[in-house]
Symmetry: C2
Subunit: 473 residues, 2 copies
């Protein structure tokens, strides 16, 4: 275990060097956060399919629990039950459009994780930084429980639990717990917990910040302890349901799904769940007594419980939907937590957008009208009125605008259309629009994944480290 | 599956080219022998330990069910539920003694399988050919069900079911079903089924041949069909017991074994089995209601049922022991089939040697006295008398000697001492002599193996082929 310990120390030191200008020391947070023997205990796995560019290189790393998929190189790093996807990597010969420029991609894009420690962090690679089109790097970075690194190359950063960086290149930043940052390119920032920041330079800037006190019921992270709060309790309570799917090599599917849908063998599906056509259920998704209508997707780490999703619904990474009814085309963003109760259901009208990192947690019935956009913390009708707007009205904003704790600057129409395009891209990529011949997406392509498990050295000086592995077509 | 089919055709063609001088065509035997979709269905696995030189390279091959362990390269080959072990590979700096010569090993030995198809074949690498000390090759070779390639580099050969080549370099040979060949170096021979041939050039030559008619009850192999007979029925009947051990990723051991013994997680252990100290139970071993005394080993593909082995007993690859009581230091050679019955037990006295590929199949009680050597087919007391001798008497043979269907030429003392040394080496290598600090063997070293599973492309042109994989320390 000695080498593993040295590796962790090395990563912490490297992150700290990058964060020195912020005067930030991650050591107290990381110390004891994941006991090293946990890293030895779980195997890692990788999927291969004919649709992903196969190219893995693992060196001097621990990989426990990962999934990978596309081209990925991991060096001097610790991945703990993480998940990396390379299913939207740019390829040699692609043309990338950035504003007025057309940039030729002249080598296959790859994910490159170096000197980093990712804890239960989802990495998705749909990256947009024109400066680093062919290498999606995660370097000198430590991310904690249920963070999302989504299209966001990252160097020298520390990500708090349930935080998301999305389409943002981050350098030398601290991203607080449950913060969502989609901001192009940022460096040397210490983002407070619960900050929702969506910015498109020269176009718009959206900012909302959770009250620290209220957020701490849901998630708080202090040095010397694991992340705590309702979010952690919620996932911990359901952990044992995942046990079986990880213990069996070839799990026999307990249910049939339509031939144009795919249900990952590492998902948990509890009774009375309906999976419609063109539906993608990703690994580590948790479905219970719920209806997933045509074209819906349940992404990694999402939980859908006692709910109905009419169709074309996106439940992004880490989204949680409990006791709710969602109309067609409702979008639920990353790590949102939507919780009704049996006698106070949450109704969301069609085409509404629940922004990433939104908490709707009600004790009385609540209906969100159709075509609304919702953000921040909503526990009742009154808070809903403050933290939502008809999308149409939002589109008319031009200039500075504020509502409750939300501040907006720029063109609302651009903000709305960016969101709409994004949602459309997600549905398309996931196969919601497949018509039997055209528009295949993950729902259709992911049906034939073969899974491979790999293990670290079981004892000795290299205990917990994996051998050097290279896998190519 | 197209590529897989092409690969098989290519292998058949290459073996046939090598066998052209024997006028032998393997195609009718191989056609349909293993439906190609079976190759896609099973995953492969490899173990890693701190004690084995880690170096795997797999290229353009199917590997379903393998195990490997030491340095191994597989190219353009099909391995179907095979098992390869590299735990006695020579290493850089070793000195190899051959008669009066001392040969320095100047690079680590590796197993190199190319253009070959191995079906449920065990490969073990304790090779002795001074001409190929650093490369253990298996090339242009097709071996069938439950064959053993033991210390035997092989090129251009076809091995029948339950055949064994042992410490023999074979080139362009056909080895018939259930034949056992230990003969130094042979080429261009077509060995009839049921031939037991042990030769040490300039020293001795032992030859026994089963009656074709009697052998066919146990095993026969004709073109266009799978191998048939009692041996096949026996293993097929117990196949489902292995299902569970291959279906679960981390199997919890149902029993504790002494700290100086090891029980492979891919072995089947049925109730009322006792595992003593310094015992090695290898993968794919099957134990039921049996007693394994101190220092015993149960090697790959062996079955020990309703039997007692007092201690320091070797049950070599594929040995089967049913309703029998074996004294200390009894050796049971490769693929031997020893079957008593509940009211007619087979008793074998201490220090007896049951030669490889011996069949003892009784319907009345039978006792083999201690320190006897037994070969061939024995179904009653009378046949025992013909097919056995006191080891001491055997040692006095000098010149030509025959008994029943057995023919011996040379010095009996050399034959006996070669066997004795071999048995001693096996016990030592397997850890039978471990005293708590010294003489560690597989029983002690194999306790910490981590298993990794890999899978082929699930669909598409490359269906059934594995990606190119390289694994190094």
């Amino acid at each position: 275990m000695k080498e593993l310990k040295k590796l962790l120390d090395r990563i912490v030191q490297r992150v700290n060097i990058n964060l020195r200008e912020l005067g930030y020391d991650i050591e107290p947070f990381v110390h004891g956060l994941i006991p090293l023997n946990q890293l030895v205990k779980f195997y890692a796995f990788y999927g291969i399919t004919p649709h992903h560019p196969l190219d893995f290189q693992f060196k001097h790393s621990n990989l426990s629990g990962s999934y990978f998929l596309g081209k990925c190189r991991v060096t001097n790093s610790l991945l703990y039950k993480s998940d990396i996807r390379g299913d939207e990597l740019k390829q040699h010969g692609d043309m990338f459009r950035f504003k007025d420029l057309e940039i030729l991609i002249n080598q296959d894009e790859g994910i490159d994780i170096e000197d980093s420690f990712l804890i239960k962090t989802l990495v998705h690679n749909y990256s947009h930084d024109p400066e680093t089109l062919e290498k999606f790097f995660i370097k000198d970075t430590l991310s904690t429980h249920y963070a999302n690194i989504h299209g966001s190359p990252s160097a020298g950063c520390f990500l708090g639990p349930f935080s998301t960086v999305d389409l943002t290149t981050i350098r030398d930043c601290v991203i607080g717990a449950y913060s969502y940052v989609q901001a192009g390119e940022i460096s040397h920032l210490n983002i407070d917990p619960g900050t929702i920041w969506v910015r498109s330079p020269d176009s718009f800037n959206f900012l909302y910040r959770y009250s620290a006190e209220k957020l701490s019921n849901y998630i708080h992270f202090t040095p010397g302890a694991s992340p705590k709060g309702l979010f952690m309790d919620f996932v911990e309570d359901r952990k044992k349901d995942f046990q079986r799917v990880f213990d069996v090599v070839n799990i026999e599917s307990s249910r049939s799904v339509p031939s144009n849908s795919s249900l990952d063998r590492y998902a948990v599906i509890k009774p009375h769940t309906h999976i419609g056509e063109n539906v993608l259920v990703a690994q580590r998704a948790y479905l219970q007594n719920s209806w997933l209508g045509k074209g819906s997707n349940a992404q990694e780490n999402c939980y859908i419980i006692n709910s109905r999703l009419d169709g074309n619904n996106v439940t992004a990474h880490g989204g949680k939907i409990i006791e709710a009814d969602l109309g067609n085309d409702v979008f639920v963003g990353f790590n949102s937590f939507l919780r009704g109760c049996p006698d106070c259901r949450l109704i969301i009208g069609r085409e509404s957008i629940i922004m990433p990192h939104t908490i709707i947690d009600i004790r009385e019935p609540l209906t969100i009208p159709s075509s609304h956009i919702v953000w921040g913390l909503v526990t009742n009708q009154k808070e809903l009125e403050v933290n939502s707007m008809p999308i149409k009205t939002f589109s008319t904003i031009d200039g500075l605008f504020s509502k409750g704790d939300m501040l907006f600057e720029g063109r609302g129409a651009d903000f709305v259309s960016a969101f709409m395009n994004r949602i459309d891209h997600i549905l398309k990529a996931n196969g919601a629009y497949f018509n039997g011949t055209e528009h295949k997406g993950h729902a259709q392509k992911n049906q034939h994944i073969s899974f491979n498990t790999i293990q670290p050295y079981p004892v000795g000086k290299l205990e917990g480290l994996y051998p050097t592995i290279s896998i190519q077509p």
